[in-house]
């Protein structure tokens, strides 16, 4: 091998390979950084509200003076629902089902707080709630009831109530560990439940319980039918102009900040997509440089290669040094790019973590997968091209 290498390394151009190395490094870093940045930022967005998937809108009818005076219903009829479902920008629609029974919740913490309040429940179809199905589940007859609370409630307590009364502030974790004593009453019956808070939502301004509980409880404690007053809508592209127009036309309302958040995510995705495309283009160009250098190298050494084939070396064995050279270069580029990625990530994370201190960071897996996939694709093409070139030397006298 060493003698073979001594022969075949003749005419290797260091500047050409350095050019490839730098160009490919830049491209690779951009691609890896794009992937990792997107994953990290996505995690931060999601951690804001891990219970509601992105791109959901909550729609209700506007309540104005006329509605109040005429007593016009703010509930959605079957036709109206079907119409919303038929819109081209809508991917899925679900009802908010309100509870039509009385709910009273008592919150106790030894020596810290002791409160009780009237409240209400709502539910949405389970497919819109992003909690593991074993945690977001109610068996009729069971006394365990999972609940998602609006984050506002906690803020109201911490920054309003607790401050003014000199009571301790509560974190999400502590509240999550506490059981709510829930009493449900209606239709002449009543029952007690142990409410378990599985999370806080900043996108949903309501108290959510599983759909199965709501169906059961509304059947059990309510005599009249319940009409939905709010819809949860999944849209494909939240920046779609038709959404805003449709809502205005029909006199519906939505929380615009949610629309904005979705728009930001959408824009982020687009910008990262563009950046990664640029990285990919640089990588393709770098790959082109490498291929040109290899072609030139093989061309310059073609007489040597031919003589090696003639004294009995197989095309595979003669190709191997150049194949190893390219693969080694690719691996080296990937490792360097990964090192640079880690460095850059630590810089931007230290900034992001300042804003969002409680975020659990995603792993480096996505960028690793992208990097290794690129490495494999490029290396396989390199290996095939070198082999083809050597075979063309084998066949040249045909």
């Amino acid at each position: 091998m060493s003698l073979l290498w001594k022969l075949l390394r003749q005419h290797i151009s260091i500047p050409q390979f350095a050019g490839f190395f730098l160009a490919n490094l830049v491209g690779m870093v951009i691609i890896l950084l794009g992937t990792q940045f997107y994953t990290d930022v996505q995690a931060i967005y999601d951690s804001e509200d891990s219970f509601m998937k992105a791109d959901y809108l909550i729609i209700n009818k506007k309540i104005g003076a006329i509605t109040m005076l005429t007593g016009k219903s703010v509930a959605f009829s079957g036709e109206e629902l079907a119409e919303v479902e038929g819109q081209p920008f809508v991917e899925a629609v679900g009802f908010f089902t309100p509870s039509a029974f009385n709910v009273r919740a008592a919150f106790e913490m030894q020596g810290i707080a002791n409160m009780s309040t009237d409240m209400f429940f709502e539910s949405v179809p389970d497919r819109f709630v992003d909690v593991a199905s074993d945690r977001w589940h109610y068996e009729p007859g069971s006394s365990d009831l999972p609940i998602i609370l609006p984050k506002n409630y906690l803020d109201l307590y911490n920054f309003g109530y607790a401050s003014s009364r000199g009571m301790p502030k509560l974190s999400e974790g502590i509240v999550g560990a506490v059981t709510l004593h829930i009493t449900v009453q209606g239709n002449g019956k009543s029952a007690d439940f142990n409410g378990r808070i599985v999370g806080f939502s900043s996108r949903l301004n309501t108290i959510l319980v599983p759909e199965s509980f709501m169906k059961w409880a509304n059947g059990e404690y309510v005599s009249k039918a319940v009409e939905p007053t709010r819809l949860i809508v999944k849209v494909g592209n939240p920046t779609d102009q038709r959404i805003a127009k449709y809502l205005t036309d029909k006199g519906y309302e939505t929380d615009t900040s949610k629309l904005d958040a979705s728009k930001t995510t959408y824009m982020l995705r687009m910008v990262v997509g563009i950046v990664m495309a640029v990285g990919l283009v640089i990588c393709v160009l770098a790959f082109y440089i490498l291929m040109l250098s290899i072609y030139l190298l093989v061309e310059k050494n073609s007489y040597k290669l031919e003589n090696l084939l003639i004294i009995g070396y197989s095309p595979c064995r003669v190709s191997l040094p150049y194949q190893l050279l390219t693969v080694f270069l690719n691996v080296f580029v990937l490792l360097m790019a990964y090192g640079i990625l880690l460095l850059l990530r630590s810089i931007y994370l230290s900034m992001l973590m300042g804003f969002f201190p409680h975020v659990t960071l995603p792993s480096l897996l996505p960028s690793a997968i992208v990097g290794i996939a690129l490495l494999l694709v490029v290396s396989i093409i390199n290996i095939c091209v070198v082999k083809n070139k050597v075979m063309s030397i084998w066949n040249r006298k045909d």
Partner: protein, 214 residues
Amino acid sequence: MNTIQLQQTLPAVFSERTNLQSDVWLQDVRLEKGKVYLVEANSGTGKSSLCSFVYGYRKDYIGSILFDGENIRSFSVKRWTDIRQEHLSLLWQELRLFPELTAMENVRIKNNLTDYQERQQIDYWFDCLGIADKKDSLIGRMSFGQQQRVAMIRALCQPFDFIFIDEPISHLDDTNSQIMGDILMDEVRRQGAGIITTSIGKHLPLQYDQVLKL
């Protein structure tokens, strides 16, 4: 591999020629393992082409060439690699050494592949041929006669059933030609192989079983 047959073989460039008088071209020739052949030729009669055809390097001929009755045109790359490592050796007229390597490295690059000759054997041949002091000289700095001797040693660094030797002594004196002939015959007898040597005048001093006029 025991026989090489040429059936009505002719280089494609000669297909226009009419007054061809040859013991090889357009004839049925059978070369057998263990025998010594001399192919005598004038310049331009296709002596080197013959070597290239049999070695699978060129295919621009008409007719067929058979190894043990099997047409070599259909041989795969792997088969040819195998033949070149184990069954057929060729000393090229243009030698095809690597000028970037030393004499010894040129021999070793072949012997590393076949792992056939002992180091002492190679040293012994360098000694016999009077180029022991040139082992570590670059081939590019050696005379053609010296290079011919290195190429001969390289050609012997493999097992073979036939060895083709294309004008091996064009730049050698009689003494060195004799030594080269002896070394060649020793190795060929040891391997029980056949020799096909070509010449346009001066030929290796061997006991030829058959002389073919090209």
